[in-house]
């Protein structure tokens, strides 16, 4: 799922000396993921097995160790938080999952910076804007001026280039996981927000709709919202008799059924 950015031309102009000709530096700023070691995936899957087998205490230890060695990987923190949730360590679970929020925020900053560079390059290369509009201090570039390479300019451009990101888009699974310990701790508003984030991240996340419906139903007494979420889950999940019963019950209790009638 790599998104490749188009190659950009970065025009760097040097401030100060009007006698020097403006420079154009060409560089490929396309963000690229850092490669993962092959054996890491194997290790990762061992951790998944522990969770699958319900070996939560072991899983906590495993994922803790992996988070120490690979703190930049959101999947590690998410599974660590999941293991803690299963052991009832709700606050610790939230603390672990918060690392993923940090990773996501950092990625967004990186991507934002890359985007800004791309925009800047595009603006300069058009040469339609005045130097003042470039929000910088370079002298005006005359049309037809020859472009020459300058070593210093290249180094300066590289120093401001976006570093290579760990991934190319925010990590979505953390939201649905985070909502669980939040609900357990009575942080219902936060849990709602997490579920909604999960849905925003992945609108086809049936579990998120399902669990958000329960949150509205049992803990927020918002039967209408609960019904809507159950129904959306029902849509995404296909046949589900439990959901059908809940929907019918809710429709009854909330008076929606009567309204239909």
């Amino acid at each position: 799922m790599l998104i490749r950015f188009a190659s950009l031309l970065l025009l760097v102009t040097l401030a100060g000396c009007a006698t020097k000709a403006p420079l154009v530096v060409v560089d490929d700023l396309t963000p690229k993921e850092q490669p993962l070691a092959e054996d890491f995936k194997v290790t990762y899957e061992k951790g998944l097995v522990l969770l699958q087998d319900g070996e939560y205490d072991e899983a906590v230890i495993f994922w803790k160790a992996l988070s120490d060695s690979h703190p930049h990987l959101p999947g590690v923190w998410t599974n660590y938080g999941l293991a803690l949730y299963h052991t009832g360590e709700y606050q610790a679970s939230l603390d672990a999952l918060a690392y993923v929020d940090g990773i996501n925020a950092k990625l967004e900053a990186q991507l934002g910076a890359a985007k800004q560079q791309v925009l800047s390059a595009a603006v300069v290369s058009d040469s339609d804007l005045t130097p003042e509009e470039l929000n910088a201090e370079p002298p005006a570039i005359e049309e037809g001026t020859d472009v020459a390479l300058d070593e210093e300019a290249v180094q300066a451009a590289n120093s401001t280039a976006v570093s290579k990101p760990i991934m190319l888009q925010p990590y979505c699974p953390v939201h649905g996981v985070r909502a669980l310990p939040q609900r357990e701790l009575g942080l219902f508003t936060a849990a709602e927000k997490s579920y909604k984030a999960a849905i925003a991240c992945n609108s086809t996340d049936a579990k998120a709709h399902y669990n958000l419906g329960i949150l509205f139903d049992l803990y927020r007494n918002d039967l209408v919202s609960a019904l809507a979420e159950y129904k959306q889950a029902r849509v995404l999940m296909g046949d589900d008799k439990t959901l059908d019963v809940w929907i019918a019950d809710l429709e009854r209790r909330s008076g929606i059924e009567e309204g239909k009638e």
Binding site: L36, Y44, M167, F188, I214, D217, W246
Partner: protein, 935 residues
């Protein structure tokens, strides 16, 4: 020459007889004193030709000469030569009477020759020479009257003769010698009438005329004559100063005879009278001097003094006035008139002394002369008075003498500030001032001697004497301070200027004592220190003094360590009274105490050491109690509780009745608290809770005691104290509630449910009765108590099984259930969240349990299927409302989530509801098993 010699001798004889009153000791007044007469009579004839030869030649000529004129002239010449020869002979052999007689014979021969010539040629115009020679021959022949007669003839008949003037002069002399002063005066007058021009006898004539008049006792005229002579020949001071030889003799003789005449006329006053009448003369001083001399010669000291004073009075501004007065004083000294001598020395000082108008008006030369005499006179006057005072026996005389001496020493100092012996004057003046008890003046002069004349042999003595003067003086009260300051300055100067003086140590001690008296502590201290560093062994009295000053001063200056040592040292002085010694030791103790205070902030350990050693150094000091108490307090502040405990316990033991002892428990409590010895602290608090003065203090101590017993795990004593508190102090409300709560907690630890029930119930009632005193805490504790009481009954309820007969067991189980429900409800009603949700849950759950207990209760045996079904229906009918109640109450609990409340009891209510109403509440989330997306 013999002729004149004879004249002189005659005159001398006459004067001698007339002036016998003026004899000068062994000398006789003679006309020969007027030596100018001799000198002026030198012959101008050539001496080297033999008179006899020339006479023979002339006689040979006469034998052959025929010209009468020539014969007369030769005869004149022969007679003249013979006379001249006779004169020479007489000059050479005046003592040989035989020769003298021969000369007279020869002279007579000449007389005959001249007489013959006159007879032979009576009318010759040159007979004046014959007369002249004849007169001379008569003189040589010792016939003055013939000579006078001849000379009278000569001047009468030959007024134009070249011999006229000399003839008159000789005539005057011969007449004078013959006692015919009137005629003599006339002869001299004739000479004077001839005028001074070409008149070599003029001045002598004036002089001798004066004498001639004098001889006639016409003194006034005589004086005028002499005055005229002096005026004419000594017109000014310069001529008088230049005079010498015969002129000087003439002058002196003139002055002498004039002085004599003034004496005849009435004495010294006549000089002024005379010159007032005839005009003042510059040489008057000579006359005063001469007259004074004459008086002195006759030992008429007072007259001489009066003469000299008359001059001074007449010419007070004269340069000579001082010397005239000095002569006067010398005269009295010679005469041996001591009182007059002193009187005039004093007058001398008044008239000519330094600063008098006379002094101011005269130049250095005059002043220099005055200085010599004046210094001697003043010193004489001072030493005389001083000596007189010293031997005087009457106090008044002694005092008068000293006063006089002081006056003269002062005058000496004033007049001769730079003289070599002025220092001595200062010293003697100081001594006198001391004798007169004028100590201010005494010390002033002693200090001048000591410090302005450091090389004076008595300088050190003077310096020390000045200090004695300071000590003696009693100034006016408003000058006491100033005086002591001066004393101190003087003493310091003494020590500085005379560093080797053996008295410097005692001087410093005295000074230090003075400084201390004036509260100049720094100076007093430094001086006292110095007094002990001089290298001089001080006597015990001064050692004591030095230590005393050092002690008091250093105490005032906060040098308490030094104060301690010094005061203790001073207290060893054997002449101290018991009280004095005790006071010093008490102050030393205070110094120790103060050392502690000083060290308190920076070196608290040292402070403690000081305070604790106070009792060792000065065991009798009352300060030791405070010191030990303060030591304990400081140890407490330092959190040195081990040592503090020891000190406090010792203090309580030693001073059980001291007022400070009452504070010991509170301090010990803190110490024990610091050491974590809670039980000991609790016992002290227990004591305090009994003995503290204030009730509130006792109350707090009681509670704290209980707390500390509890903390020390001495629960029995803790219960005693909490109970005591709970029973005794209903107010204030909060601690009363806490005490009840504490008792519940302790009994909980001891597992004594019964006691717990008692105190829990009391908590609830206390809260309820507290009304407006109720607090969140009391509400919480009351709610907790109600909840706990409910729990007791709930547990009992849960233990009871529903067995047959069911009615009884239901009642048995219902009883605790109802009590529990009541208490849970009570807990909920108090709206303490912590107990609201569990109480709500337990209420709901107890209903559910009761329902379940009914449904699972022991069934009666022997029922058939229908009966069993009926029985089951009956049970369900009984259980259903219980389930409804349970659901309803659980739902109440879970609705709290809508307000954001979600705890374990709410969760449990959810859990219960998921069983009671699974369709609505049994809704678990779908939980992801794992997340395979790595990133």
């Amino acid at each position: 020459m013999k002729f004149f010699l004879s004249l002189v001798m005659i005159a001398a004889t006459l004067i001698n007889s007339g002036c016998s009153l003026f004899s000068r000791g062994d000398q006789t007044v003679r006309m020969s004193d007027i030596t100018s007469l001799k000198i002026r009579m030198v012959s101008n004839e050539a001496p080297d030709v033999s008179h006899d030869d020339v006479v023979r030649y002339y006689q040979a000529y006469l034998a052959v000469a025929t010209d009468p004129e020539m014969r007369v002239r030769v005869a004149h010449r022969i007679a003249g030569l013979k006379l001249q020869s006779d004169e020479i002979r007489m000059e050479r052999m005046t003592d040989d009477e035989a020769v003298l007689a021969e000369d007279q014979i020869l002279a007579k021969a000449s007389i005959d020759d001249y007489e013959n010539l006159l007879k032979a040629f009576p009318d010759r115009v040159d007979n004046d020479a014959i007369y002249y020679q004849l007169a001379k021959a008569y003189s040589l022949a010792g016939q003055p009257y013939q000579a006078i007669s001849v000379l009278e003839e000569l001047v009468k008949h030959y007024p134009r003769s070249i011999y006229y003037l000399e003839a008159q002069f000789r005539l005057g002399q011969l007449l004078y010698a013959a006692g015919d002063y009137e005629m003599s005066e006339a002869a001299y007058q004739a000479l004077m009438t001839a005028g001074p021009a070409a008149n070599r006898f003029y001045r002598d004539a004036e002089y001798l005329r004066g004498w001639s008049i004098f001889k006639q006792a016409r003194y006034e005229e005589s004086l005028l004559a002499f005055m005229r002579m002096l005026d004419e020949h000594f017109p000014d001071e310069a001529t008088l100063e230049a005079v010498q030889g015969g002129d000087l003799d003439l002058l002196n003789d003139t002055l002498r005879i004039m002085a004599i005449m003034f004496d005849y006329l009435g004495g010294w006053n006549q000089i002024a009278r005379f010159f007032d009448e005839h005009g003042a003369r510059y040489y008057e001083y000579k006359l005063y001097s001469q007259l004074a001399d004459q008086y002195y010669e006759k030992k008429y000291y007072k007259s001489a003094a009066s003469t000299l004073r008359a001059y001074v009075e007449r010419y007070p501004d004269s340069d000579r006035a001082p010397s005239y007065y000095e002569r006067l004083i010398t005269g009295y000294e010679t005469a041996g008139y001591p009182e007059l001598l002193r009187k005039h020395k004093e007058i001398y000082n008044e008239r000519f002394g330094i600063g008098t108008p006379y002094w101011e008006a005269h130049d250095v030369k005059v002043r220099a002369k005055i200085t010599v005499a004046l210094s001697k006179y003043i010193w004489d006057l001072a030493t005389f008075s001083h000596g007189w005072a010293q031997v005087a026996k009457k106090r008044s005389e002694k005092e008068q003498g000293f006063n006089e001496a002081a006056r003269w020493y002062s005058e000496y100092i004033r007049s001769f500030p730079k003289a070599a012996d002025t220092v001595k004057a200062h010293f003697l003046l100081a001594e006198i001032s001391f004798e007169l008890e004028r100590y201010d003046n005494a010390r002033n002069n002693y200090e001048i001697v000591a410090y302005q004349y450091p090389f004076y042999e008595g300088a050190a003595e003077a310096g020390y004497a000045a200090l004695l003067a300071y000590a003696k003086y009693t100034p006016a009260p408003d000058h006491e301070l100033e005086w002591r300051q001066l004393n101190v300055a003087s003493a310091k100067r003494f020590v500085t200027e005379f560093p080797d003086d053996p008295r410097r140590g005692t001087v410093l001690v005295n000074t230090a004592e003075t400084l201390l008296k004036d509260k100049y502590y720094e100076q007093a201290l430094s001086t006292a220190r110095l007094s002990q560093q001089t290298g001089v062994e001080l006597s015990p009295r001064y050692r004591y003094g030095a230590s005393l000053v050092q002690g008091h001063s250093s105490f005032e200056l906060d040098f308490y360590d030094e104060a301690e040592i010094s005061l203790l040292s001073a207290s060893t002085y054997e002449k101290l009274s018991r009280k004095e010694r005790a006071d010093l030791r008490q102050k030393a103790a205070a110094a120790i105490y103060k050392q502690g205070e000083q060290a308190k902030n920076d070196s608290p350990q040292q402070a403690v050491d000081h305070w604790l050693r106070l009792a060792e150094v000065v065991p009798e000091s009352t300060l030791k109690v405070n010191a030990e108490y303060d030591a304990a307090t400081l140890l407490m502040d330092m959190q040195n509780y081990d040592r503090a405990e020891n000190v406090l316990l010792k203090f309580r033991q030693e001073y059980p009745d001291h007022k400070l002892t009452k504070d010991i428990p509170s301090k010990l409590i803190v110490a024990y608290e610091g050491k974590g010895e809670w039980r000991k602290a609790a016992f002290e608090l227990m004591t305090l809770s009994n003995v503290a003065k204030e009730e509130d203090e006792r109350r707090i101590a009681c509670f704290q005691s209980a707390e500390y017993f509890e903390k020390a795990n001495d629960l029995d004593n803790a219960i005693v104290m909490y109970k005591r508190y709970a029973h005794t102090y209903k107010t204030p409300f909060d601690p009363a509630v806490e005490a009840h709560y504490k008792l519940d907690q302790i009994y909980a630890l001891q597992g004594d449910e019964e006691k717990r029930r008692f105190w829990l119930d009391k908590i609830i009632r206390l809260h309820r009765n507290g009304k407006n005193q109720q607090t969140e805490r009391s509400r919480y504790l009351a709610s907790s108590a109600a909840f706990q009481l409910a729990e007791f009954d709930r547990v009992a309820f849960e233990k009871i099984k529903l067995t047959l007969p069911l009615a009884k067991s239901i009642v048995r189980k219902n009883e605790p259930m109802q009590r529990a429900l009541k208490r849970y409800t009570q807990a909920v009603e108090m709206k303490v969240l912590e107990f609201t949700t569990p109480a709500t849950f337990h209420i709901a759950d107890m209903y559910a349990q009761m329902s379940k207990a009914l449904m699972t209760s022991e069934k009666p045996k022997g029922m058939d299927e229908v009966e069993a079904e009926e029985y089951q229906y009956l049970l369900e009918d009984q259980a259903f409302p219980l389930d409804e109640a349970a659901i309803d109450i659980h739902q109440t609990n879970i609705r709290r989530t809508y307000d954001g409340l979600y705890d374990e009891w709410v969760k449990k209510s959810f859990s219960s509801l998921s069983e009671l109403m699974p369709g609505q509440y049994n809704k678990p989330e779908k939980v992801t098993t794992y997340v395979d997306q790595i990133r």
